[in-house]
Symmetry: C2
């Protein structure tokens, strides 16, 4: 009974698993075989050069531990270690030009990677006009538009100035900013306050007298009151415990900040009762914290930025330290690749729209708030925030799935940020560009959606993924830069 | 080929499903049959009388809709409807004897069904001694003990006075109480404030100068400050929106009140900024709300009591309107059965103990806080609060399971209290004694655990179930009372 193996195989019922190109199945199916087709494609976006670089950066390891793959692993351990150790602390409220960047001049900072006035999307143009009006550099929208295009106003990404801004992310010289210091590594980060007023806010691309007066109110009432509060807190307010607790209270600290804002209010209220503050200012400030469930986002973003900046600049590291969108492009920065941006086209988020709006009016993905995902929070921690699917769409099971899937593209889990619904496992943290390419899985981001025309504001919220192009270009640059050091 | 059916059955391989008594399997197994044994027992705790009453109250329905089963169904729809419609609102802080019950005299209210001094468990005796010392009816613990046993102090269940108290649940004449009014049905309920101080509190059975001075602080600082706050809130503070939102922030508003307490603090802080309050008293009050994550429990319990009292007294209804424990017995009250208590022996909860303690030192289940479960919250809503398993034990999957299982013993789901992790389904509400017996599934309660000796305080937290005896006795009474009206 010495039957050759192949014939034995063909004698019984035929079943096959096919990978990739689906045409392979047809011949088998025609011959009556049961076929399970797996939707697989080789890593690297169909580019053999990327696949080769991935192999060099990952699998091509010598046994003496001296290969590029090992060097990157070691560097990533160092980089993500700094993320885990960081202790972001709210220490101050300071004015952009007067107290933080004295040489700011006529600079406007914006969200995402660098972009010129000519290339900017509608809402960012609207926000630039709004900022120029707020700064009194022009008195009408037309004048402001002309000035913006004249070359007399300098534009720069928030990220390059140690700052982060939500949505359009405009920071102008007169703005008071939240100042967060990472007590362990000394990095400082800045973020503008959340304006009250919903759609009619600078961050969503609105401009005009109401927007300017909202920003002036922040200067006049909110900022000095909160500066008094944080000054009264001896040594500032550690933000990591608040964020960790917020994850246990159904926040993801990106698009859900309900619990974190309440905790912030608790500390601020207590701090403000003690010194001799003007009661009307205190009441107005507490009223804002009470009515805006997203108020903590500025603190969360600045905390994540102060954390990720500490992990930037680790030679060989393939860990993403910034992921930011300007409404046209998404850019990432990688720890081992200096201050270079790796760019891909921004997608329109998939989500829930306010009545009367649809993806037709939606601007592509915008804002620096993806610093939360970069830092292992936001959509990466969405298992903590099932109630958020009422805002961004999907089901509570999707929220669990994002947190599970992102573990496949990250370096480790953060034991300081645990997810109750997943048996208290740590949130996945430290995006490794190699894993993103190898898994063919792009990092997920939850986000508000802006109208693509200036001045229209928020029209929905949803889920979006960073473009693969950012990661493939970054990998090629990483391999080119460090291959010589192998 | 006209084979008789039975022989055909026996000719093939034999497989059987057996129910109940396990001895039935052995003969089958000996003959080589595959046996699946289901652990089932007839409803009614092995009592054929109960099973018969259950049949009369449930299945014995005439086609003209006039049977007892239909009458009970209709009554339950009315009773649970009142629960869904209730609008509990925090309206006042009032002194027990001076403002609420002028004829209170030397009465001490306690948790659970009625009990005499001689029968009371250790911690409740401790709390009675503590209350007598706090009231200055005696100056030493020995004197207090003697007075308690003398008959000169009257004991009564909180529930019978429209009140609820956590753990030992002692309410004495000098205590200020939270006053909650159900705006729809006009019912009012009262609960004592949560004392600061952890283990050394009256509610856990402690007594002595520190306990008395904690209670005096509530009289002197907390109560007048909160009375000012609630008075400043025009029309009081609606509690249902806070509780509903808290379920979306990982509270169950029984043993986890972190989010609800923060929301309460938010409203209180804002209310206190406006009137000309003494800053030191405001600061102390906010400090307490900040440091005690369970502070809202008094409000939650009073809200549930004001809700369930509105659903009490519906003729024919088999819905439970109170479920309360005195540390010896668990008692339930049923909407259609006047003010009668149906009693069973209290179990020791299964849970997590503080270092150095175990179930050996644990007092059986105690407290009126199971009014939250009675009202469809607490363990019934535990799917909302996965993080709580760190306190009561078990896994996040257990939390989901409790909310799913309790739907089998309740009348409906509450669309006002939704559970994000279960796709926003409403929390199960309205315990039907018929379903408890029919399913053989006792209502689940999450609870703190007190030391069985007086004065020792909290030693853990866990999960416990109400005894079946309460439900079977109540059912027999219900059928006896209403069978004549069929």
């Amino acid at each position: 009974m010495n039957t050759p193996r192949a014939s034995g195989l063909l004698a019984s019922e035929l079943a096959a698993v096919t990978l990739g190109v689906s045409g392979l199945d047809t011949g088998l199916q025609r011959n009556g075989a049961t076929v399970l087709h797996l939707d697989w494609q080789p890593p690297g976006n169909d580019d053999p050069g990327v696949a080769w670089d991935l192999a060099r950066a990952t699998h091509d390891r010598s046994t003496d531990g001296k290969s590029l793959g090992f060097a990157i692993d070691r560097a990533n351990a160092e980089a993500v270690g700094r993320v885990l150790q960081a202790e972001p602390t709210w220490v101050d409220v300071a004015l952009a030009a007067r107290e933080i960047w004295p040489a700011m001049g006529r600079t406007l900072l914006h969200a995402g990677p660098p972009i010129s006035w000519a290339e900017m999307c509608g809402p960012m143009r609207g926000a630039i006009i709004g900022a120029i009006l707020y700064e009194n550099w022009a008195t009408t929208a037309d004048e402001a538009k002309k000035l913006a295009g004249s070359g007399e106003v300098r534009f720069a990404p928030c990220h390059e100035w140690g700052a982060v801004g939500p949505m359009c992310g405009i920071i102008s010289p007169s703005m008071p900013l939240v100042v967060v210091e990472n007590r362990v590594h000394g990095t400082r980060a800045f973020a503008p306050f959340m304006e009250a007023g919903g759609a009619r806010t600078l961050r969503f691309g609105a401009f005009g007298d109401d927007v300017s007066s909202g920003l002036k109110w922040i200067e006049r009432v909110l900022a000095p009151t909160l500066k008094t509060a944080v000054t009264a807190m001896d040594g500032g307010l550690p933000l990591k415990p608040i964020m960790a607790q917020a994850l246990h209270m159904s926040d993801d600290v990106h698009n859900r900040n309900t619990a974190a804002t309440l905790m912030l209010l608790r500390y601020v209220a207590e701090a403000l009762i003690r010194p001799g503050m003007r009661k009307d200012l205190v009441a107005e400030t507490l009223g804002t914290l009470r009515s805006d469930d997203m108020f903590f986002l500025s603190f969360s973003m600045a905390a994540c930025k102060a954390t990720m900046d500490a992990a930037h600049g680790v030679r060989f590291s393939s860990m993403v330290t910034a992921m930011a969108r300007n409404g046209v492009n998404v850019g990432i920065r990688v720890s081992g690749l200096d201050n270079e941006w790796f760019i891909g086209r921004a997608d329109v988020p998939v989500g829930l729209y306010l009545p009367g709006f649809s993806e037709k009016q939606a601007n592509p993905d915008i804002g620096d708030s993806a610093i939360t995902e970069t830092s292992g929070l936001g959509a990466f921690a969405m298992a903590a925030a099932p109630a958020m699917v009422q805002f961004v769409g999907g089901t509570p099971q999707d929220a669990l799935r994002y947190s599970r899937e992102m573990a496949r593209v990250t370096i480790t889990r953060n034991p300081g940020f645990t997810l109750p619904a997943l048996d208290f496992v740590g949130s996945p943290v430290g995006i490794d560009i190699r894993k993103v390419i190898d898994e063919g899985m792009r990092p997920v981001i939850n986000t508000a959606i802006a109208h693509k025309e200036p001045g229209m504001g928020i029209i929905g919220a949803g889920i979006v993924q960073a473009p693969m192009q950012c990661f493939t270009t970054a990998l090629q640059t990483l391999v080119a830069k460090y291959a010589a050091f192998e």
